[in-house]
């Protein structure tokens, strides 16, 4: 009986089972909870628990928290956690999608000039002092997003025009070229405007900023659209894995899938960068880790990356807030600290021929 079941499991195709989803959701919930309960300011976790219950409809409790403590939990921690959830999820899914499209496990969502474009846009906004509009119309995220969009558009136009327009290699090269150009311009502006240097640099290192819920609201529509598209393309990515010719012979349209996925993933990465700066490594570490556990099928990797990416960023943000309490570390530093050793680990496995 047992060996039959085992055989069944072995022979079963890759599938996103409800078990996997449940497990991933649990991890996410645990991360959210941990981040709510802990922080540089110690507030009794049991009181926070009561407060959470209190906020549920129909329940009214006195949690014993002071007004300021309540403000910390609901107005400072929670928006930040939710933003981290969205940004982490976006970057991880975008990373998984890019890796599927380019058939390269080292592709990251910043590849086609997203990062460089956002950096330039943000620098221009900061330097011109336009960074403090009203909440949702704050110029900085908009400028960063526009910068990303323009950079990616140039990359796609140039990379697509060169070569036979189906070659991913020319896209990648174009991305490198565009990124170098934009970075050069950004560095030039940055060093010219010494007064704002710290602001620019601080933005570049990444930060889950918390002007309340503004960033969350701003990013929500883009996050929603791009996630829906990327999720719907996960199966097609599996087919793309055998190359464009074979994928075509199997009945999908590889070029169309490629553009759609690149478009959605770039949108996801650009909007993440626009609100939180350049948080590196999430797009690479998380899909890789997921693949090590559940295998390479994008039908699993793409959705699970969302949960794990969200959890990862929420937890690294918790570290960023508390490691040097009450000072903050830029979150890009913490993710890089995890990223670099992980990269080495992955490279070792590659050279062993395992990946």
């Amino acid at each position: 009986m047992d060996s039959n079941k085992k055989k069944e499991q072995q022979e079963a195709p890759a599938e996103l089972t409800s078990g996997l989803v449940a497990g991933a959701s649990l991890i996410l919930l645990a991360s959210i909870l941990a981040s709510l309960l802990f922080g540089p300011v110690s507030i009794r976790p049991d009181r926070i628990f009561l407060e959470i219950l209190n906020r549920l409809p129909g329940i009214s409790l006195d949690s014993g928290l002071s007004t300021i403590q309540e403000a910390i939990v609901w107005d400072v921690r929670l928006p930040r956690i939710i933003l981290g959830l969205i940004v982490g999820g976006l970057l991880a899914v975008a990373g998984a999608s890019y890796q599927g499209v380019f058939r390269n496990p080292l592709a990251d969502p910043y590849l086609l000039g997203v990062a460089a474009g956002a950096g330039l846009g943000a620098t221009i906004a900061i330097v011109s002092g336009a960074t403090n509009g009203e909440g949702m119309f704050d110029a900085l995220p908009i400028a960063a997003f526009l910068g990303s969009a323009i950079a990616v558009a140039i990359t796609l136009a140039v990379g697509g025009a060169v070569g036979r327009s189906t070659s991913t290699a020319s896209l990648l090269l174009a991305g490198v070229a565009v990124a170098s150009l934009f970075t050069a311009i950004q560095t030039y502006i940055q060093q010219r405007e010494s007064a704002t240097l710290r602001q620019v640099y601080s933005w570049i290192l990444g930060r889950l900023s918390t002007s309340g819920w503004d960033e969350v609201l701003m990013i929500l529509p883009y996050a929603g659209i791009s996630l829906i598209v990327m999720f719907s393309m996960k199966g097609a990515l599996d087919v793309l894995a055998v190359g464009e010719e074979e994928a075509l012979s199997l009945g999908i349209r590889p070029r169309r899938v490629r553009w759609i996925v690149i478009g959605a993933a770039s949108l996801a990465a650009a909007s993440a960068v626009a609100v939180s700066g350049l948080i590196a490594f999430v797009g690479i570490i998380v899909p890789h880790a997921v693949r090590l556990v559940v295998g390479a099928s994008n039908r699993l990797v793409v959705p699970l990356s969302f949960f794990i990416g969200a959890s990862f960023l929420i937890l690294t943000d918790l570290l960023a807030r508390t490691l040097q309490s009450p000072a903050e570390l830029p979150i890009g530093v913490v993710t890089a600290f995890f990223g670099a050793p992980f990269f080495l680990f992955v490279l070792r496995r590659r050279s062993d021929g395992i990946i």
């Binding site: 072995q10 022979e11 079963a12 195709p13 890759a14 599938e15 058939r103 719907s232 996960k234 199966g235 097609a236 599996d238 087919v239 894995a241 055998v242 190359g243 010719e245 074979e246 075509l248 012979s249 199997l250 009945g251 999908i252 349209r253 693949r291 295998g295 390479a296 099928s297 039908r299 990946i355």
Partner: protein, 272 residues
Amino acid sequence: MASYEPLNIQGLEVELGGKKVVNNVSLSVNSGDWLSIIGPNGSGKSSLLRAIAGIISAQGKVHFQGADLMQTEPRTRAQIVSIVPQIPVVPPRVRVIDYILLGRTPYLGRGFQPTQEDTSLALSVMEDLDLHDMADRFVTEMSGGERQRVIIARSLVQQPNLLLLDEPTAALDMGHQQEVLELVDRQRKRLGLTVLSAFHDLTLASQYGTSMALLVNGKVTKSGFAHEILTETTLKNIYGANVSVHNEGDRVSIVPKRGNRLKGNSNSNDIG
């Protein structure tokens, strides 16, 4: 079941780098037949097959079962014609069962998730191809021969009416060569599959094909039956090889002849 309309190729042309690698090819293959395409390296066999499969750009018409495959959209076309590539892409960390189930792509719904039926079909094809208990292994971990059979399994699982094989036996030992080709032949007879294959090995080409076409520089120079095309003179002219041809009914075996090819005696040093 397949319909009885023949495969009708008209004026097929493929241009690569300014050169016509498939030059105005017209062929007809009866439904349920097996056409062996032979020709020296670079004659365009692979491009011809890929053009018929619709995966490279080409001019001309490919009529099959009431439709022009060149005008059919990919998903429908993939349910009709399947191609076993010469050099397949093998993605890392993909399990055999998942890889073979990619062949069900043209039949799957939005989520591209295979059903229980799809899985059973894949498993039975694997049995036929001597791939028992390999479902969970990575394709990259398989030997050359096993891998070739896995790829053929994928094509068969696609349930095509037209099967295109591009040098399908290159990596296989004799036993597995026979096994695979016998399987394809059985499917062909059972399901009325039409098969086109490009062959390196002329003996195999004549043994399994029901008709043959000789492709030289992108043009069909001879077509008909194996014993008509495979003559010692033709082979000498086309391949530059000295062979002796042995006919067994309408099957032919080709045996290379040693001797006159190398000027000088057989004691010369460069003979292994």
